[in-house]
Chain length 146, copies 2
DNA sequence: TATTGTTATACTCTATAACTATA
DNA sequence: TATAGTTATAGAGTATAACAATA
């Protein structure tokens, strides 16, 4: 069976990782993507929806839907930003505790994904992903054109 | 800015890789996913649509749409399989030559994705992805439940 | 003039379920 | 009964375009 291009291998691995995370998050009734949004808001208290979208690489309209969902769940709130055009988004108390539980669950899922590697190999892999991400972010404007 | 969970980092990296591949494939007017299907058929001449779907982790209906597209482009043909219920899918002459061009293009895109790593690091990364994929395939039935 | 949030709409990819024809 | 292909339909996720309020 063909191994295919590296891009394909990477995609299949990511899908595997996502499926594992989705399964682990079932009891919280939340998707991995929505947890990511929650994480970004937690790390950037009071961020605008547009800024959230930038970090997640989705547009304003999509970022708004994420916030709508999280707000509907009582995990985040919209407050008035210094610029009255913008919303400042914050985690609620419930959002903080939910994120804590969910983070533990995701950590386990990540561990399962990397289970076939030694501790050293896994650390190397995580570090290389981090570096590739860091360098890729620089050329993101170029790619956005696509 | 939050680095987020490993799964999130992996997803962002994959999206970056996919966007790059999509951009590079623009002149062929074909998506990375459809090229992957073409690659699988090339490596498995005469494979059924169901088998194609298994390898790509999509169901029969989705695999059929991929074959419809590739057939419409004249890149593959459906022939009668030994089991008359099934189709045997093959690359056409045009499919072979297109795949060759497209493969070169994708190789460049992959190189660009890994450009920030040294040759040794890139080799390590590719190898670790391959191993993670190989081990994950074993537990695929479990994940499909999700 | 540019930007934020919003709304409505559409597109892509995939899944599900039902049907047919074979095994 | 089980499976391959097909078809129609639905869902998730995202994008685009236009609008109001504000900078």
């Amino acid at each position: 069976m063909l191994d295919g291009s590296f891009g394909f291998q990477l995609k299949m691995l990511q899908m595997e990782s996502d499926a594992r995370a989705r399964l682990a998050l079932q009891r919280f009734e939340i998707s991995p993507a929505r947890v990511s949004a929650l994480m970004v808001i937690a790390a950037n208290p009071g961020c605008t929806q547009t800024r959230l979208g930038d970090v997640l690489s989705v547009n304003r309209a999509s970022a708004m839907k994420l916030v709508n969902f999280l707000e509907g769940r009582g995990l985040v709130v919209r407050k008035q930003a210094s610029d009255p055009r913008a919303n400042a988004v914050f985690l609620t108390r419930k959002g903080v505790s939910t994120l804590s539980d969910v983070t533990d669950t995701l950590r386990e899922a990540d561990r399962a994904t990397l289970a076939s590697l030694s501790d050293e190999e896994a650390a190397t892999f995580v570090e290389l992903v981090r570096r590739l991400r860091a360098s890729g972010a620089a050329s993101e404007e170029t790619l956005k054109v696509a």
